[in-house]
Amino acid sequence: MDWGAIFNNAAVELISPTTAAYALAALGLAVHFGYTGLLNFGQAGFMALGAYGYAISILTFGFPVWGAFLVGIGASIVFALILGIPTLRLRADYLAIVTIAAAEIVRLLFTTNTFASVTGSANGLSGYKTEFAALNPLAEGSYGFGPFENNAYDTWLRIVAWSIVILAALFVWQVMRSPWGRVIKGIREDEDAVRALGKNVYAYKMQSLILGGVFGTIAGMIFALPRAVVPSNYQTTLTFFIYAILLLGGAATVLGPIIGSMIFWVLLSFFSGFISRAVEAGWLPFMTTIQGGQLRFILVGVAIMLIVIFRPQGVFGNKKELAFVR
């Protein structure tokens, strides 16, 4: 049993761009679900719009990086408006069903062969990284130490990704202490009371939906940069994983989504490394390596159930600040 490699692979996940992307998407969801009480099950759709918006702008239209970035954000704002207008006046579970349906529509539109020349259909897109790599100020070579040693591109990507996450976290922290944030939290606790104070609840909810959605979109771009954009990555399961991270860290917290994402990915990597090596070593004769891969998804599902039932505030949350007190 090569414990060194298992721990090393798990440590790599601690600051990997994927962890950053999930953290940012979960932070967006914290704005939606934790602070405002909006049940958005379409975060995967926002991420897909970010990834495709960025990739298509660069590959098809030849935009610069900042232009592609703005296209992705614009797409997500339009998407949030489309989602919000019919549903924000309705009960929470309607928003859940509509967002999950809309995210699937987005994914199916990116998967269909009809637009294959632009979206690459089921094979997705790749080859959009050069523009981002060209902005890299770091010289060639390797940076960091131990499991955190990377080449110049990967280091640059990690710096950008985590800077965005930190900025977003600071922004959420500040904005939730502002008058705007107090109204948002008030909507979560008692919508009618806030309405009675003369606040336009609908507009506040819409702003929250857009803000969290934009976070999801930027997360989608970060998620796309170390790999290719493939539509099957943006299934509903992705949203559920982000919920698992959010609930793990604590829904109405700023640090919760970030630490939650780190815990989630380090544990997942550790667990899959451990299982696959244990199977190879013959410790688990009733299991194949593929089954080991599925076992961790089973555990994610069970973990979601257990957290919601036994520790609904998550690791960092405050029991008084529960999104779902009602």
Partner: protein
């Protein structure tokens, strides 16, 4: 979600390469048997583009093939073995076109796939193969196509309704949007597979056992998870998230035990019977019959029996129902068992409709079930029936205009539009939407 994308991306390409190599090897073998081409064009050139037109293992003769490019044009027809070859003057890229008109009745090339760009690799011979499928090439009138799709959509809508009514009853009585309903659908199909194929029981018995086990699963889920959570007073949104976790856990549990492949139930893929323009397999007919009978049974249960009336009373107002002496827990238990059994039956029929049993088949259908329930009005049993039939018809009929890989998009767009115009659904009452 892990970065395995690069591997995935290359699999289709790899498969294509393997396929072409295999075909090339096969054709080499037949050539060495001394079988020359019947109609070879451009034999004076060194380079050859060749292929083999087959459908379902049957060679297709007299299919017209044309090659154009680099200022050169030639055409030929396939011989009795379905083979063709055209010599070309230089290594370069050519456009190979298959004339769809020359294909026999009922065989088509996928849309746009009758033109293939061929480019020579390292060898002097390039294999070009067209993928043929069964289908009608707009030789059927629009009305006949419409009728055929309509009946198919009705069939799909009815099996959707079986699942949707269960989901709607559970929502009505407990307030839970049960995402794990998808796994209850899959459960019915998987159990049928286990008892019919793996244990060799006759299919009707396997289906009966599967439905009974589905009902037992519903009872078990209520007893182990949902009833204790109701007792703890867990709110509706956490309950919904618990059901998502349960759905995820069960789905990958199925994959753990049954693998990621698709298997067929016995009797699937029978030849279609023709009723004028409508073609249906015997299974489709039986499926529609079963759906209608079961739905009528559910309607009778809800409207005429004591326990059915109690169910509707609980659905309307649990506290009032409880105060008037209805055992709410008992009603909810019955709703879970009925809902799960209906979902199991729906799963069996869905396995024949798709066709095939796979670990995530229920999840593929879940959103359509939710769309149907929301369209009809959350919590109303008959709304769910009407919503299902609308969704079923919409999914099938939309393929007349939309490409078939986008058929679910139409149904989901309709869901959003209905919420915009009539949020309470077709049968729902306005005060329910809160």
């Amino acid at each position: 979600m892990q970065p395995t994308d690069t591997a995935q991306r290359y699999i289709p390409r790899l498969l294509a390469i393997l396929f072409v190599t295999l075909l090339a090897a096969l054709s080499m073998a037949t050539f060495s048997a001394g079988n020359a081409h019947a109609d070879e064009v451009g034999t004076e050139y060194d380079f050859t583009i060749a292929g083999n037109v087959q459908f379902d293992g049957e060679p297709q003769g007299d299919v017209a093939i044309a090659v154009a490019g680099n200022g050169y044009e030639a055409d030929t027809v396939t011989d009795a073995d379905g083979r063709w070859a055209i010599g070309v003057p230089e290594k370069g890229s050519y456009e190979v076109t298959l004339d769809e008109e020359s294909l026999p009745e009922g065989v088509v090339v996928a849309e746009g796939a009758n033109v293939i760009d061929a480019e020579f690799g390292l060898t002097d011979r390039k294999s070009v193969n067209f993928f043929l499928g069964e289908g009608t090439r707009n030789t059927v009138s629009f009305f006949d196509q419409f009728l055929n799709r309509f009946v198919n959509g009705l069939n799909f809508g009815l099996l959707l309704a079986l699942a949707a009514i269960g989901l709607s009853l559970i929502f009505g009585t407990t307030g839970l949007s049960n995402f794990a309903h998808a796994e209850m659908i899959t459960f019915g199909a998987l159990m049928t597979l286990v008892f019919s194929v793996q244990l060799g029981l006759p299919i009707w018995l396997a289906i009966v056992i599967a439905i009974a086990l589905s009902g037992a699963l519903g009872w078990g889920l209520d007893a182990v998870i949902w009833k204790p959570l109701r007792r703890r007073g867990v709110a509706l949104i956490p309950l919904m998230i618990v059901s998502i976790g349960l759905s995820l856990a069960l789905r990958y549990l199925y994959q753990y035990f049954f693998g990621g492949s698709t298997s067929q139930l016995p009797g699937a893929g029978q030849t279609d019977l023709k009723f004028g323009p409508i073609s249906l397999s015997p299974i489709d007919l039986v499926s529609m019959g079963i759906s209608v009978i079961v739905l009528l049974g559910v309607a009778y249960f809800l409207l005429r029996t004591r326990i059915g009336k109690a169910t509707r009373a609980v659905s309307d107002n649990p506290s009032l129902a409880s105060a008037s002496g209805i055992d709410v827990d008992n009603v909810i238990r019955i709703v879970w068992v009925t809902g799960a059994a209906l979902a199991g039956l729906s799963g069996v029929l869905w396995a024949y409709f798709r066709p095939g049993v796979s670990w995530d088949m229920g999840f593929q259908m879940l959103l359509l079930v939710f769309a149907a329930v929301t369209l009809g009005g959350l919590g109303t049993a008959f709304g769910a029936l009407i919503g299902s039939i609308i969704v079923g018809l919409f999914v099938e009929l939309s393929t007349l205009w939309l490409p078939s890989d986008m058929k679910y998009v139409g149904a989901l767009v309709v869901l959003i539009l209905v919420l915009l115009l009539r949020p309470q659904g077709i049968m729902g009452r306005k005060e329910r939407i809160g």
